[in-house]
Amino acid sequence: MKKSERLYIIIAGLIVGVIALLLVFKGNPLNMGFCVACFERDIVGALGLHRATPVQYIRPEIIGLVLGALVAALAWKEFDVKAGSAPVTRFLLGMLVMIGALVFLGCPLRMILRLGGGDLNALVGLFGFVAGILAGVGFLKLGFDLGTARDAKKVDGWILPAAMILLLVLLLWKPVFNPGAPVLFKGKPVVAEGQKVTSAPGPVFFTKTPPTEPKPFPGAMHAPIWLSLIGGFLVGLAAQRTRLCLAGGIRDVALTKDAHLLNGFLAILLIVAVGNLALGKFNLGFENQPIAHAEHLWNFLAMGLVGLGSILLGGCPLRQVILAGSGNADSTMAVLGMMGGAAVAHNFMFAAGKLPTGVMGVSNFGKGAVVIGLIVAVIIALTNSEILAKE
């Protein structure tokens, strides 16, 4: 391995970690400086595609990631528009990965950030993630392959970045097309502090924490727009250049004993743990962790689904966003699938959250979704492997 390559990916990991710490310090939810799954879910909610009012916000981090990857790909002549490698399968896999991530409460990146904050539930999640990746490696050895992508029209690669610009416009403009409709929370009108219930959101919906709530909702917690945007942009640049992938690190060690990508993973964990210790935010344990639950089996299985799905897609959720920004239309399908999965996960009550008992946990719907998701992922894996796919 070239020394410079290793140095760059470690630097990329450190950049991701520092920006994640900074974004939390400036307002993002705890252990959520970055979360590709949560942030895509928030955007989907902001567009009104799910009704979980506590998690609706157009997260500029995602916009920044796509644009950062785009600029890096253009600058280094890697903007390569390709499409046609099982797009519908990738959409479905994206949905499954998102469902797993929302049952665990975080993508692989947030899993690392949670671990760096002392959340031991993320360690259980990591075990599941590794197990899912090893299963995926097994399918790769059986000849799993979603097929060859071909060169596509350039414009196909520009649509997602353009959509991101549109999202940024909506975030800054906050248009209201339907004044008069009440803001609802759990079916009841919400009165924002000091305001009458007259102005309603729509077409974009942003979380407002009702004054009766003791703590702000996650969707209402965010760093300043410009900071989130620049933070996302820098991470997008760094991740595009170094090919940072949080599933790929573990996969490559298992497959070819190549620890290159794992260096990035470990660098994030190290800097975040050190940062949290220095800031006095390191809280070791299973209980009372921010936006987390302690249902070990479901943390394990949910991240197992994320791990397996990520290997079948060829990279973790972060990597899919980066590839999508670099012109890969198949990864764009995976990202859109994740967004679809986010809507499904909340509308069908799969996502973990506060149970009727008052504790954070996974509903029976969520448990069923993870089990079915794992079965579907295995079917996808087998039917696209050489052993079964021989015609």
């Binding site: 390559e5 390709k82 490698s85 790769l140 060829g314 990279g315």
Partner: protein, 78 residues
């Protein structure tokens, strides 16, 4: 060098880590002294180069319009 190349495989358009696995398999199964591949720029190019270097092979790369041609030369035996 012409004439020694017995294998030239186009690995463009494949997701990670399929190109690496195909090159690994080719290195293990073929007896050619020099193997040739065309891969996408970016991750596939870097990953395949890294694998070949790890196996002690010399790698020569040529930029194409749409991809990179990689010439992987095995270490001489003995």
């Amino acid at each position: 060098m012409k004439g020694v190349v017995g294998l030239k495989v186009d690995l463009r358009g494949l997701s990670c880590p399929v190109p690496v696995l195909k090159v690994k398999k080719a290195l293990e199964q073929s007896s050619e002294q020099i193997l040739c591949f065309i891969v996408d720029r970016g991750a596939p190019f870097e990953n395949v180069s890294r694998l070949a270097a790890k196996k002690g092979c010399k790698v020569e790369s040529t930029e194409l319009d749409n991809g990179v041609e990689l010439k992987i030369m095995r270490p001489r035996r003995g």
